[in-house]
Amino acid sequence: MKLPTYEEISSDEKQLEVREWPPNESLFVVGPPGSGKTVLAVLRAEMVSEWAEEKDVILVTYNRMLRRLLDLLDRSGVNASTMHSFVWNHYTHVTKEDVPTLQTNSYVYNWKNMISHLSQSSVSSSLSCLIVDEGQDLPVDFFRYTARFVAKTLTVFADQDQAIGDRHTTLEQIKGATGLDDPIILQNNHRNTPEVARVAEHFHSGLLPAAKVSRNSIGEVPRLVKTRDIDHVAVLVSNWRQTRGGSVGVIVVRNETGIALHQKLKDRLSGTRVDIYRNDDKNENSINVLNDGVTVLNKESVKGQEFDTVFILEIEHLIPIANDTDRRAMYMMCSRARDHLFLIYGPTELTVPAAEALPGPEILERV
């Protein structure tokens, strides 16, 4: 009897890693939270930029806070842009005209008209490479537009299991719109402790297998905490920050809660960075999320971010899970925490269906 060893047959599994992918080829990557999509997007941008003669590589993402994070992570000067801003610049540059928007909503681009117009103008792709992060949250027409008129090669990172809007784009739609091959799956979760990952995974449903958690346990189970009022929340967060340090993300459902809490935290944490991101203020450039401190965000702006500790406030507004969109949002928000996760509610008790929507006490400790 002579059998090959497991090591020998497993070594056949060696497949091209995302970081080894040729710079002149398009690439489609999917991965769960913490699998390093954003970092890989930046590394890919740097690599392609070094290769491309024109150095014309652009990183496009979903929101301004993530665009800011990409800027902070990038060391090579690759341009990062929100989808909205990138398309506006591209369209006005090639057509010398304003971007057409929907009559019903001037913030939404009229992709049909744009694509039709560029088709007639015989505009062709000129950019060496466009790299898209959080692709699932961008409109499918953006991918059609990009593939036809913008970039010679495309790299897309996405995870539709984390899509936060009702009108997200599925992986099939991205593939269909771009002609990309089936995506490579990233397997490892490098961000969360096993305890945090278990809570996030409770809310996971969808296409991707649960990631292998590569970190070791730190022995702290996420907690469900009832609070009396906003002052109580401020005490909790500030005490935690003062005694544990690190970066703290506070996710709010209602912006007014975020504004009130931000002020109270600033009062209690003098000498500590305490920021709030507000879409209306477009103040992302004044926030350095890579520095320790407290950042208050809402569920849209927290996408793609990560913190040592995350407090998710007002969970009574998020559970019981009403639909897949809410489930994906909970999955995405819980997985922002590297080490510590708190789900906060109060002052009223959770309803029975809300309490039942949460993981059991062995996974989410009740305080």
């Binding site: 002579k2 056949d12 992986l171 995506p183 297998p209 990631a211």
Partner: protein, 275 residues
């Protein structure tokens, strides 16, 4: 080199199988429970195809399962122990391995797999056997083996009954198909389809299939269909041969010939999208 079972496994077999048979008042020289060995193989075991949940001529279902373990399990164990030793050489199996033992009999694949761990084995075991009596004897052996204290065990009558509530992940899977394809009622394509349904539930991890059987051609007539079915779902054949191991018996060393094959499918890194 002689293939030897680890001492704990010899003791286990002795206490759960060999001594209960030999110490039974019905057992006299050259018989098991008073039945001569030829009749035992042909009638009690029906060459491994018997319905072990039915009594036979005064033998209870448990007696029949014991006869099977007494006469057939040792050789099957030796083959699998040797196969696993070669497969893992001086290393332990990967963490969080899941072992699916199809046609498990009295936990034969599970016990052989446990033998490659230097200390307490840690894996998930799914034992599949249509005979409840055989599954019960398997659980008795597993529960008696302290080396299997940390093994999560599930016993089912067919693959479609497997309960897998964890989210799909990346855990490595070993499938043992030992002396199963000789069954006249088994349809290899159907078996592989059912197996693939379970594999998908478990996730995208690498899967290794170890096949052993008698080297009699008639016992392997279904192998080509089995091979084709696995090939269609992405498995590659790494070994397919007849081989022998040297085993020790009361009257000295002897050669044991058998058929074996090894298939492997790497983890699924590409997400197949319908488009």
């Amino acid at each position: 080199m002689t293939t030897q079972l680890p001492r704990w496994l010899v003791s286990l077999r002795s206490s759960v199988v060999v001594e209960p048979v030999r110490n039974d008042p019905r057992t006299v020289e050259h018989t098991v429970f008073g039945i001569d060995l030829k009749t035992a193989q042909r009638k009690v075991l029906a060459n491994g195809q018997a319905n072990f949940d039915k009594s036979w001529n005064g033998l209870s279902p448990h007696d029949r399962a014991l006869v099977y373990a007494y006469l057939n399990q040792l050789g099957h164990l030796e083959e699998l122990v040797e196969a696993f030793r070669q497969l893992f050489k001086d290393q332990e199996p990967p963490n969080e391995t899941i072992l699916i033992d199809i046609g498990c009999g009295p936990c034969t694949g599970g016990l052989a797999f446990t033998s490659v761990y230097s200390n307490t084995a840690r894996f998930d075991y799914i034992g599949v056997d249509r005979s409840q009596t055989m599954r019960e004897l398997g659980e008795l052996m597993a529960a008696t083996a302290t080396q299997m204290n940390e093994v999560n065990r599930q016993w089912i009558a067919d693959i479609t009954s497997a309960k897998w509530n964890s989210a799909p992940g990346w855990r490595p899977i070993i499938v043992v198909v030992s002396y199963l394809l000789a069954s006249p009622t088994l349809i290899p394509g159907q078996l592989v389809t059912q197996l693939e349904t379970l594999l998908r539930k478990i996730g995208n991890g690498p899967v290794t299939v170890l096949y052993t059987n008698s080297n009699q051609p008639i016992a392997n007539l279904k192998f080509p269909e089995f091979n084709d079915s696995l090939n269609k779902i992405g498995f590659k054949l790494y070994a397919d041969d007849e081989g022998e191991i040297v085993v020790s018996r009361r009257d000295g060393s002897t050669k044991r010939n058998f058929r074996y094959a090894l298939f492997h499918r790497p983890l699924k890194r590409i997400l197949k999208l319908d488009n």
